[in-house]
């Protein structure tokens, strides 16, 4: 009876430890990406099977774009704040409000153009198939945010 009980405990222990070890090792790479700073770039490398040279070039493009992106964020913030003040100060659709709106839309359009340029630049560094998949993903993610998430699914989440 005691021996049987010990064997049952051994079976349960084996099952639990196997589960923990397998789960830990299977999810370790993705967990590292999630927790580390800039893990999304590592995700991009794995998701689109980038070679070392492709990854280095894309990182450089990403760094250059990040500077422009910060400037654009500042411009958007200023334009939004200005429009916010105009909307509070005016009770009707005045030429000032129209100008403020136009300014916001202009800055946003500029951002969209820069974003698209960046997306095409990144995809050009990838293999043709990966580049096409990248553009499809970004199109659904950013350019057409109204399109349902189910339209595009990343390879690693399948």
């Amino acid at each position: 009876m005691k021996k049987g009980l010990l064997i049952l405990l051994l079976v349960a222990g084996t099952g639990i430890s196997t589960y923990c070890i397998y789960y830990h090792y299977a999810t370790a790479p993705v967990m590292t990406m999630v927790t580390q700073l800039g893990g999304e770039m590592e995700w991009l490398r794995r998701e689109y099977h980038l070679s070392d040279s492709q990854y280095v070039r894309i990182q450089a493009i990403h760094r250059d774009y990040a500077l422009k992106c910060d400037l654009m964020c500042g411009k958007i913030g200023i334009a939004n704040a200005h429009l916010d003040q105009l909307l509070l100060a005016n009770k009707t659709y005045t030429p000032e409000v129209a100008a403020g709106m136009k300014e916001c839309m202009s800055v946003q359009g500029e951002c969209r153009q820069a974003l698209l340029t960046h997306i095409y630049a990144v995809s050009a560094e990838m293999s043709p198939a990966a580049g096409a998949r990248y553009i499809t993903m970004m199109k659904a993610r950013i350019i057409e945010p109204a399109v349902g998430r189910e339209v595009v699914t990343s390879e690693s989440s399948k």
């Binding site: 789960y23 999810t27 999304e40 951002c111 820069a114």
Partner: protein
């Protein structure tokens, strides 16, 4: 003489009537007795089964099989859970990447 005795005995036997006195609680007691024995047998069934099970488990052949089954189930469940976690984390990283290059998302 013997015939006379035999006739007398026959007459007595014919005249003899047995009238059993069954107590009022007889039926109830019988059922109580049956219920008690049934309960005792049921109570003894589980320990017997457990005893038998543990004896069988202790055999190397069964113990090895049980460990193999446990390993397989654990690996299967862990694999399914790990795939699910990886898919969720990949979506999260995809969103993070998209947000990192979208100035409009950043300024919101």
């Amino acid at each position: 003489m013997k015939d006379f005795e035999s006739d007398e005995l026959d007459a007595k036997l014919r005249a003899w009537k047995v009238e059993p006195q069954v107590p009022v609680s007889f039926q109830r007691e019988v059922w109580q007795c049956i219920a008690a024995r049934q309960a005792a047998r049921d109570e003894a069934l589980w320990p017997q089964l457990m005893q038998r099970l543990f004896t069988q488990i202790a055999r190397p052949r069964y113990a090895t099989s049980l460990i193999a089954i446990s390993l397989s189930i654990s690996l299967g469940v862990a694999h399914v859970h790990a795939q699910d976690t990886k898919a969720r984390m990949a979506k999260l990283l995809e969103s993070r990447y998209a947000a990192s290059i979208d100035p409009l998302a950043m300024s919101r």
